[in-house]
Amino acid sequence: MKMNGAQIIWECLVREGVEIVFGITGGKVIPLYHELPAYPIHHITMRHEQAAAHAADGYARATGKVGVCIATSGPGATNLVTGLANAQMDSSPIVAITGQVASGDLGTDAFQEVDITGITMPITKHNCLITNVTELAQAIREAFHIARTGHPGAVLLDVTVDAQMGQCEFVYPEAVNLPGYKPHTRGNLRQVAQAAEMINQAKRPVLMVGRGVIVAHAQDELVELAEKAQIPVSTTLLGKSAIPESHPLSLGMGGMHGESYTNLAVQQADLIIGIGTRFDDRFTSAAHTFAPQAKIIHIDIDPAEIAKRVRVDLPIVGDALNVLRELVPLVKEAGHAEWIEIIDGWRSESHEHSRHWEEGEVLVPQYVVRSISELTQGDALMVSDVGQNQMWEAQYYIHNRFGGLISSGGLGTMGFALPASIGAQAGCPECTVWVVAGDGGLQMTIQELATIVQERLPIKIALLNNGYLGMVRQWQEFFFERNYCGTPILGPDFAKVAEAYGMAGITVCEKAQVGVALERAMQIDGPVLIDFRIEQEHNVFPMVPAGRPIDEMIRRPKQV
C-alpha cells in the first residue's frame, strides 16, 4: 500500500503500541500532524517542548511502555535537549521525533534549521537523520527496539519535511537489522552460582537496588531473595518503590540523604549485592570510601556499568528478572538475626531524631509529605521534582506501590515533576497522581498547568514553598558562610495562579490546616494545587558532606 512519510510514521507508531504522544507542532511537522486525525493516537499538546520530553519520560516510567514526543525543527528540537538527557540518564525509554528542513536545504543554515542529531549524539542512546521516505519504517522499528531493550534510553529520529511528504510502498519491517546491538539478558550461570555461594557465606549482606529492578519487573523475585536469605534491602533514589517500604527488610534510600541506619548498614556490610544500579555518586559518595568491608556483587544489564565507579568482585551482566530467577533457587535460607538486630537498633535510635517535627507547631515539609503518605496509604503515584522537596518526598513518603515514585535522579532536572506527572496521569488514568515540588522547580515549567487543565487530568500538586532555591541555600548555610547569593526567590500567589489557569488552588500556612487541605484536594474531582508555606530555612537531614564516607552524616538535630 502506498503511503506518504507522515502516514508511515503514524502507522508504525500504532504498530508499536503507541496510544498517546506529547508534542508541539511547528513549521516542519505540519505534514506529520496533518495525517494524525486518521489514527487512534491521542496527542497531548504541551506548552513547551522540554515538557513534552518530560511527559513522554513520565509516561514511560509509569506504564513501562515507550514514551513518544514530537517537536518541530530548530528551537522545537533544541528545547527537547534537557528532556532527552534526563530520560537517557534515568534509563527511561522515549522516542523523540523532530521535523527537519527539506533535505535539499540541509547545511545551509535554513530558517529553523539546527543539527539536532549532532547536538543530541552524546545524550541519546541512538539517533538518526532520515531524508528519504523509504528509510522511515525501518528507522522507526529500530528506534523503538533500541529505546526499550537492553539498558533503556532516549532515541531521536530527525525527519526532513520532504521525507514526511514523499510517497512509497509501505512494508512493515519484519526484523531489525542491528548487527552491533545485542543486549546480554541472561546472566552467566557460573557467575550466578558464584554469587549464590557468596550470599550463602555472607554474615552481613545488604541488597542495593536500583531502577533496573523496576524496569525488569523483578519485584517479586527481589522480595523472594530478601526474605529467603533475610537480606536487608537498601535502594537508590530511583530504586525506591522496587520493594514495598513498609516491608520489615526495607531500609529505604541510602546515600547522601539516606537514613543513618541505611548508610551504617551499607558501610558495615560484608557483602553488597547491587542490582540494576550504576553505583551512582549520590549513593556511594567517594568511591574509595564506599562499603570498605564488603565484597561487591554487581548485577546489571549494561556491561559498561560494571566497575565504572566502584570495584566489583563478581559481575553478572543480565536482566535483573532473569538473573534473580536463576539466583533465588541457589540461595540457602538464612536468618541473619544478629545482623538485623544491629540494624534495627540503629533504626530505633534514628527514630529518636524524628520526634520534634511530629510534635512541634511549625509547618514543616516532613509533616506535609508524611500526611500525604498516610492519606494515600503509600499507594499514590508520586512524581517529585528536584532538590529539598525531592529528598523530603523520598524520606517521608512510604512507597508501597510498585514503581510508585517518578523522579529525576541522574540529571537532577528542576521543572521535571509537573510535565512528568502529565505523562504519568495520562498513562495511568486510574492512579492517584501527586506532584511534590518546590517553588523554584515548579516555576521552571509552570506553564504546563494549562495542559493539565485542558486535558482534565486530576493531578494533585503539593508545593513545598519556602521562597528559596532550598537545596543550594542549605549548602550555602553549611559550607559557604550562609552567603545566600542567588537563592532567595520571590514567587507569585500560587493558589491564584492555579485559579487563573482554571484549577483549584489552596494556600496552607499552618500545620493544623494540612489535613483539611489534603482531604479537600482528594475530594475535588480535578486538578488541585496546594501551596504549603513551609518553614523557610528548613534543612534536609541526614546529610553526608561531599566526598565523605556515607556513614559520616550530619544527623537530624534531636530538637529544634
Binding site: P179, A287, R309
Partner: protein
Amino acid sequence: MTLAKDYNNNSRRTLVVLMEDKPGVLSNVSNMFRRRNYNIESLTVGHSETPNISRMTVVVHASDTVLEQVIKQLYKLIHVTKVTDITDDDAVIRELALIRVHAISTSRAEIKQLVDIFRAQIIDVAHDSMTIEITGTEDKVDSLVEILRPFGIKELTRTGRVAMVRGGLAAGGRG
C-alpha cells in the same frame, strides 16, 4: 579502591574497532572519547575487507581499568560491531607520512642520501623543496622527521597508526 581515571599508570594501547558504515558513526566514536575524557593519541578510519563495515585503528593512553571502560563504551555505541585490543598481539603497525622539506641545489644530494637510508621515497621535487613519502613504524617516521628538521620542514602530514595482527586471525574474527 577507586577506579577513577588513573593517568599515572597509563600506557599506549592500540584498538581495532569495526563499525557499520553509517552517517555520523565516526563522529559518534570520537565524541564518546571526548565526553568520557579518554586520551586519544591517533585515530584512523577506512574501509575494511567487508562491504559496509569500516575499520578504525585507535591509539589511546589508558590504564588497564580505563581501557576496559573504553572497550565497553565503544561496544555500547549501536553501530560498533567489534573491538579488539591488539596492543599485546604480534601485529604489523605502520604509519605513512608526507614531508615537504626545504631543499636547494646544495642540499638535495644529502637529503637524497638520508631518504635512501630510511628506504623512503622522493615523490616530488620543486626548485626550493622536495616532498618525501615514508611508510614505517612511528619510531622510524619520527627519526626521519628529526633528521630532516635541520634542513627546514615546510609541511608535514602523518596518517596515524594503522595496524593488523600477523598470521591467520582477523581482528573481527574472534570471540
